[in-house]
């Protein structure tokens, strides 16, 4: 018992240096410059939720979707995308995508009958692509009426997507829905919705960004059963040629969450702790910017306004997670509590 008291004291001292922030349940506070946090919740439990953090007032608002709409967000909220005045939230295991008003969060529409949707990316006002873990094709929808208008057969499972000019790069993260190895980036022409190319990289590409020099960066974890070394790839966006491959030293590690800063010249990712490197570096950095310590870093995001670093700690995946907010130099600004498994950020900048 004595040991426990000492332990609690030391923990409370540890946290007293950082500011604990207030919790609020008012939705009036959705201002510019804040961040939406989608909390995945637990698979088949349907305890996903939506939180919002306003850095100016330091107010956290939780469980907002339920408060406004009186309906739970669903089973495993996977991703959030802001498109003009609407917010789209992809609910993976519910097979639906909700669109809600960006200011009031009121229900606007729904795309349903999806198999295992992961992300939505907007091509134009009339067209959006939806990637899907359990389907071998991309679903094409019309965002104005939420109708499914077509499919793009890839022959592979799809996950994260980035758009560059009239090409969409689609990561083949999982080996569901295919017999082949999950080690490609598929390229789709968004004018004619045709699969045009496939770039072979490492196993399990989990995140992608485009830098200021028009290069595509892809981070591969090497497989969840540690099939191969984790890798980072630099790819020419025009020729689809690989410029450089970086190989991580430890096969046990599963680096993910590749992000890029506002100026497009520094890469950030999670490899236990937060790691940062320049797009011109010739090798992977040895040092962490932010050590994980005894936390369970799950999600990384960069606010595009002042490049603040947001990292989520999913703790034991069964209790409310914590978001840590750091300055670009790795100095802790504050931390705040959100829902279970904070899994996606959307920075609310106009």
């Amino acid at each position: 018992m004595f040991k426990k008291i000492i332990f609690i004291l030391s923990i409370s001292l540890l946290f007293s240096c950082s500011k604990k922030e207030d919790v609020n349940n008012d939705i009036d506070d959705i201002s510019n410059g804040g961040v939406f946090i989608v909390n995945e919740g637990n698979f088949s439990v349907a305890n996903s939720s939506l939180s919002y953090y306003n850095p100016e007032t330091s107010i956290v608002t939780s469980n907002m979707f339920y408060q406004v709409n009186n309906v739970p967000l669903g089973d495993v909220a996977q991703s959030i995308t802001i498109n003009n005045e609407l917010i789209y939230i992809v609910i993976n295991n519910s097979g639906i995508i909700y669109s809600i008003d960006r200011k009031t969060l009121e229900f606007k529409g729904k795309i349903s009958e999806l198999t295992s949707p992961r992300e939505i990316i907007f091509i134009n006002d009339q067209k959006a692509y939806i990637s899907d873990l359990y389907s071998s094709s991309i679903t094409i929808v019309n965002p104005t009426d939420y109708n499914i208008i077509g499919k793009i057969e890839l022959g592979k499972s799809s996950d994260c997507m980035v758009k560059y000019d009239d090409e969409v790069f689609i990561a083949n993260w999982s080996s569901y829905a295919q017999t082949k190895v999950n080690n490609t980036i598929m390229v789709v022409n968004s004018e004619n919705d045709m699969l045009t190319d496939s770039i072979v990289i490492g196993v399990e590409p989990n995140s992608m960004v485009i830098d200021v020099e028009d290069q595509l960066w892809v981070l591969c974890s090497g497989g969840f059963m540690n099939d191969e070394m984790p890798t980072l790839w630099k790819i020419n966006l025009y020729t689809h040629e690989i410029i450089k491959q970086f190989i991580f030293a430890d096969i046990q590690k599963n680096p993910d969450n590749l992000c890029i800063n506002g100026t497009g010249d520094s890469l950030y990712f999670l490899n236990d702790g937060v790691t940062v490197m320049s797009i011109h570096d010739q090798q992977l950095p040895d040092n962490m910017l932010i050590d994980e310590n005894n936390r369970n870093f799950y999600l990384l995001g960069l606010s595009s306004v002042d490049n603040e670093i947001f990292v989520s700690d999913a703790l034991d995946y069964n209790q409310n997670g914590v978001i840590y907010r750091y300055k670009t130099n790795g100095k802790l600004i504050s931390s705040f509590e959100v829902g279970i498994i904070p899994g996606c950020f959307a920075f609310n900048n106009q």
Binding site: I8, V71, G74, G95, S116, Y176, N254, I340
Partner: protein, 628 residues
């Protein structure tokens, strides 16, 4: 209770207390209550008539039972004295235990079952199928209920003084397509029909018993059952694409051969058992062309061989001795394990009980268990029962025990994630209680029972998502469970009118006091899905063959996440369910008929036992029973 068979004739069963001299708490489900739900499963029966907590995913779906704030795998189920918990899961699905197969259901709270099984950190449920009828008898029952639910049950009992046979059969099927209000998907406000929730159970038991002599008996019983059920989507997932197919099929065959010899003050018993189980879980998602994309086809076969013997004797006057040994081998062949896995265990126990001056009973038990060559720490239990007034059934009891629950084979070997380095879960429990039974005006029986307990479970195994996508179990929680139970039973008659009133209440506080829970400020939060209050009441009135029953059960709110903060999570609200039944017993010469009409959830309460799992509103059942 150890001496039940030997001293059965000496025992007077009043109320629901079996053995007044026992220092541990044992209750028996009353036969009237049992009859009320004998066309349902044991999970439904316990939810309505006992203070244990039943976590049910809906009728026909998985149903688990927990005692005193412990987990479902800390409830051991014994059938004919042999543990039937799945070696893979460590728990028992109570929806697969048909009420009509059992003659007696005993609940043993805490570690009082240490003579039979280890690991019952919460308690154990004893199912007895061995009900010998005095005459040849045929029983046929048929019920028809809402949502196309049909149950046929039949039994034939033959008794030829030295040879006895009982045969029981059930077939149950339901579309289970009830309508519910779905407030879990937008746009909300629609009534929906539950889909993919149909189930079928088909089973039989056959028992033969032969009296070799007046003092020697041999018996064989087999229980075989085929269960098929589809698994419905949760309320948020009803619009999911991909034509998802999800089902669970299982088959089991449980066979027990038993030899008993009575010899003066001594009873010898040898029991051999062979269990075979097949469990298949299937989940498939299809694409637009109906070809499968993702597939889980989990096929598991489990074989259990056990041999046990025990001897019980009155060594000297009022000194009782009981000892036994069990050898157990479990073998799992699963496509979720890397290879075939086996577990061998050898357990021994010794129990001594001394009664002083017919007032004080002292009982001590020691259990030793060796699992796969490793000796678990000893499991002791010590208890005292005190009866202060000679001619009054007024007893105090106190007991303390230490118990271990070994990890399930899935905990150890599931691929990926299984953790072969898990330690057994360890519990320390103390319990005090009192039982009082009295009669007034020679026509009314009152039984009151109260218990309080406190238990600490260390190294509680919890599956947590690991660093990468698959879950893995760890000895993580330190659970402190404490609480109490109250029970009141009154039965009697006013002239021609007979009545029974039963009520039970349980108060359960259960928290995780591990260092990590304390550090995150969660050590005061009630564990998920354990209600602080549960209560039930039952009133039965009968007159001239007519009878009316009313049953009420209350479950207080439950946390569905580790954080109980309403700003973040969805605590499930409390609910009260009311069921009534009306019936008439008719005797035509030797034939007896019983016609019964039941209404479940009469107030059409919209509730969830588990988050976003739909439950049926008001529903009906009509049954006819015929006995010759």
């Amino acid at each position: 209770m150890i001496f039940d068979t030997l001293f059965l004739s000496e025992l007077e069963v009043i109320g629901n207390i079996d053995d007044f001299s026992s220092p541990t708490k044992v209750t028996t489900i009353d036969s009237i209550a049992q009859k009320e739900l004998n066309l349902h499963d044991i999970g439904e029966l316990l939810a309505a008539f006992s203070p244990v907590f039943v976590k049910s995913y809906g009728r026909g779906s998985l149903s688990t039972v927990s005692f005193r704030g412990a987990g479902a795998s800390h409830t051991k189920v014994l059938w004919e004295g042999v543990n039937i918990n799945s070696p893979m899961l460590g728990q028992t699905d109570f929806s697969l235990l048909p009420g009509s197969f059992f003659d007696e259901i005993d609940l043993q709270y805490g570690s009082g079952s240490l003579s039979q099984v280890s690991g019952a950190l919460g308690g154990s449920v004893n199912l007895v199928s061995n009900g010998i009828k005095n005459d040849n008898q045929i029983v046929v029952q048929q019920s028809i209920g809402s949502f196309s639910t049909y149950l046929t049950s039949a039994a034939v009992y033959l008794n030829n003084s030295n040879f006895y046979s009982s045969t029981r059969f059930i077939r149950q099927s339901s579309l289970n397509n009830f309508t519910y209000f779905n407030n879990a998907i937008l746009p909300s406000g629609d009534d929906m029909t539950q889909s993919n929730a149909n189930f079928t159970n088909l089973g039989f038991t056959q028992q033969f018993l032969y009296n070799i002599s007046g003092k020697q008996q041999i018996s064989f019983i087999t229980w075989n059952q085929w269960n098929t059920r589809n698994i419905p989507p949760i309320m948020t997932n009803v619009e999911k694409g991909g034509n998802q197919i999800e089902w669970n099929n299982d088959f089991f065959s449980r066979n027990v051969l038993k030899w008993v010899l009575y010899n003066e003050n001594t009873r010898w018993e040898a029991v051999g058992a062979y269990f075979y189980e097949e469990l298949d879980y299937f989940l498939e998602t299809e694409d637009e062309l109906n070809s499968p994309i993702s597939l889980i086809d989990s096929q598991n076969k489990v074989e259990t061989y056990s041999f046990a013997w025990n001897v019980s004797s009155e060594l000297f006057e009022n000194l009782f001795f009981d000892a036994g040994m069990e050898m157990l081998q479990q073998e799992v062949n699963s496509n979720n394990y890397l290879k075939k896995k086996q577990r061998n265990s050898l357990s021994n126990y010794i129990n001594l009980k001394k009664i002083f001056n017919n007032k004080i009973t002292v009982e001590g038990l020691l259990r030793a268990e060796n699992v796969d060559g490793e000796l678990l720490p000893l499991m002791p239990m010590l208890g005292i029962n005190y009866k202060p007034v000679a001619n009054q059934n007024f007893n105090f009891r106190i007991n303390g025990s230490k118990n271990y629950n070994i990890p399930s084979l899935n905990d150890l070997y599931w691929y990926p994630g299984g953790n072969a380095n898990l330690k057994p879960e360890e519990s320390f429990e103390v319990e005090v209680g009192l039982d009082y039974v009295t009669m007034f005006s020679k026509k009314h029986n009152i039984a009151i029972s109260a218990s309080a307990y406190s238990s600490l479970i260390n190294d509680w195994i919890i599956w947590l998502p690991g660093d990468y996508r698959y879950w893995s179990p760890k000895n993580i929680a330190e659970v402190y469970a404490r609480g109490g139970e109250l029970s009141l039973r009154i039965s009697g008659e006013f002239g021609e009118v007979g009545y029974n009133i039963f009520s039970e209440y349980a108060y359960t506080l259960t928290t995780n006091n591990s260092d990590s829970a304390m550090a995150s400020g969660l050590s005061d939060v009630q564990l998920m899905y354990v209600p602080v209050h549960t209560a039930n009441g039952y009133v039965n009135v009968n007159y001239g063959g007519y009878y009316a029953n009313w049953n009420l059960s209350y479950t207080s709110s439950r946390n569905t996440s580790l954080n109980n903060d309403e700003d973040y999570s969805f605590p499930l609200p409390q609910y009260v369910l009311n069921n009534i039944s009306l019936g008439k017993k008719i005797n035509l010469k030797k034939a007896k008929f019983d016609v019964r009409f039941k209404v479940f959830n009469i107030f059409d309460v919209d509730y969830q036992a588990i988050l976003w799992r739909a439950m049926p509103g008001r529903n009906y059942e009509f049954s006819l029973s015929f006995t010759l």
